[in-house]
């Protein structure tokens, strides 16, 4: 679905490339989480998928990015917009309207969605993120978290094949964050939407996504299933990515030679691992 081939990118006048020789393939229907220390190039990676690079950020590029069979560099922003929906990190700067309803309507109108379908799209998009009551509010009167929900709602109303989110829960409370991730899971599992999400909250991320890509200093540090990537927490901690505590614990248990099971990803797995170790010890 998305394929980076030897892709490098340097911002104009930047001393060093923000992305270096990226090779990454994201399958159709994948639910991929991207994590990494700040300044690693996560946002830059999303810009290369939605066409902000090169149509907006005109730096020096090498290599190729293909999205659903089209070369991002040879196509127009509108061609990509039909395939990729984006929620940018700093949502505040990206609103085109002053009222919530208008913000959601904007893309639907542009896409020439049939009239009969529009009302249903608006209500279901608002409902999915739980902000039906904000429909007629002016955006400037909303809180940071509510604004994030509006941006997410506007993106999912367009039902893109690929949904790209850059730290969509940075201003949300834990409960709303889970709500957003459950929504992403539903979109991924039931509608087959390919989802790529940059997120700092690793615990949350690992619970929902299928695959994980760690970016560090413009390069792919590791990529694979969540369990594979987390199997070496000490390696990740070296670059400033803190693993979930259960993962760290279970890998320490393994390092101490108490178990040879794969790392635990959640509390349940960790609990049964510890129970087994104690049982074996008593025996």
């Amino acid at each position: 679905m998305i394929k980076f081939e030897n892709f490098s990118f340097t911002y104009p006048d930047a001393p060093a490339p923000a992305l270096k020789n990226i090779n990454l393939e994201i399958q159709k229907g994948a639910f991929l989480g991207i994590i990494g220390p700040s300044g690693a190039g996560k946002s830059t990676l999303t810009y290369a998928i939605n066409g902000a690079i090169p149509h907006y950020y005109q730096g020096v590029c090498q290599g190729q990015v293909m999205v659903d069979g089209i070369d991002v560099f040879d196509s127009t922003p509108e061609t990509i917009s039909l395939k990729v929906g984006s929620v940018f990190g700093d949502v505040e700067s990206f609103f085109v309207a002053s009222v919530v309803e208008e913000e959601i309507l904007f893309g639907l109108e542009n896409f020439n969605i049939p009239r009969s379908e529009i009302e249903g799209r608006i209500t279901s998009a608002l409902d999915a993120v739980g902000i039906s009551e904000l429909r007629y509010r002016s955006i400037s009167s909303l809180s940071g978290g509510q604004k994030q929900k509006v941006a997410i709602s506007a993106a999912i109303a367009l039902r893109p094949q690929i949904l790209l989110l850059d730290e969509p829960t940075s201003e949300l409370d834990p409960q709303s964050s889970r709500q957003i991730f459950s929504l992403l899971r539903t979109l991924n599992k039931s509608n087959g939407m390919t989802i790529v999400v940059v997120e700092q909250k690793i615990m949350l991320l690992c619970e929902y996504v299928d695959r994980l890509t760690v970016i560090n200093d413009g390069e792919i540090y590791s990529t694979g299933s969540v369990r594979d990537v987390l199997s070496t927490p000490s390696k990740l901690e070296k670059i400033g990515v803190n693993c979930p505590r259960v993962t760290t614990l279970s890998s320490k248990l393994a390092a101490a030679g108490l178990t040879n099971e794969p790392v635990a990803l959640n509390l349940n797995e960790a609990e049964s691992m510890v129970r087994r170790i104690i049982r074996d010890y008593i025996r």
């Binding site: 085109v96 109108e109 020439n112 529009i118």
Partner: protein, 256 residues
């Protein structure tokens, strides 16, 4: 200045009128301001506009805009009042300056004209979502969406700007710069250096909005893309008739 020139949701008659009707009414009122030379009639229209705003729940913003216009008019008033030499002298000032009765009347008229021509246009912003304004302009006035979007985005920037200015001023004040001077020239000297950073950040903002619009298929849009229809209703007809009546009256009434 919070919420200055910003849409205020509501259900009043002013909110419900078609955006085109509102535009037409403001243009008519603007025309009245220049057709009529009656201070009483123009004052009456100003009061009418303020009264209607108060009834529509936007009284506070109307007063905000009004007081800003009042300050601007005052400058215009002072610029006019000393230059009319005809009529009976009311006040004599040093430097061979004097104020005549005709000069006073004319200066007041000019100030009122400025207020009446600008107030309704500014008020449209507070009772019309900008996307409706753009949509109606595309549908009814056949203006290409690109231009309508540019215009409404520019208007949407006004409150963003004023928030940003006050944020910068707050930040400067925290560093000990005193903005509370009464001296207008001193104040301008303090505010002028803030304009460059403001310009830079606003250019950045427009670029982000352009990017965001493009990522959501802005270029795919055509004239038929608009979802809402802005049909004229009975109330629009009544409002327009009232507008015509007001302009006819401005030609007929010859009050002082």
């Amino acid at each position: 200045m919070k919420g200055f020139l910003q849409y205020i949701p509501g259900n009043s008659i002013l909110h419900q009128l078609s955006p085109i009707t509102k535009l037409a009414l403001s243009v008519l009122l603007c025309a009245c301001a220049f057709l009529s030379s009656s201070i009483l009639y123009i004052s009456f229209l100003l009061l009418l506009v303020l009264g209607l705003s108060a009834m529509s729940g936007i009284g506070r913003s109307a007063l905000q805009i009004f007081s800003l216009l009042l300050k601007l008019s005052l400058i215009l008033f002072l610029a006019q009042i000393f230059f009319i030499r005809e009529g009976d002298v009311l006040v004599r000032l040093p430097l061979n300056l004097f104020i005549t009765d005709e000069g006073l009347a004319f200066a007041i008229l000019i100030a009122l004209r400025l207020m009446l021509s600008a107030l309704p246009l500014a008020l449209i912003i507070t009772v019309t979502p900008m996307s409706d304004l753009a949509g109606a302009m595309v549908q009814k006035l056949r203006i290409p969406y690109k231009y309508a979007f540019a215009l409404t985005t520019a208007i949407r920037f006004i409150p963003i700007f004023s928030t940003e200015i006050s944020e910068i001023i707050e930040a400067q004040r925290a560093r000990g710069v005193n903005f509370d001077t009464k001296n207008i020239f001193k104040k301008i000297r303090l505010i002028l250096p803030l304009c460059l950073p403001l310009l830079v950040s606003s250019i950045k903002k427009t670029e982000y909005i352009a990017l965001s619009a493009e990522m959501r298929g802005f270029a795919l849009r055509n004239r038929k893309s608009g979802y809402k229809s802005y049909a004229f209703k009975g109330r629009d007809l009544i409002a327009l008739l009232a507008g015509v009546f007001i302009i006819a009256a401005s030609l007929l009434i010859n009050l002082p």
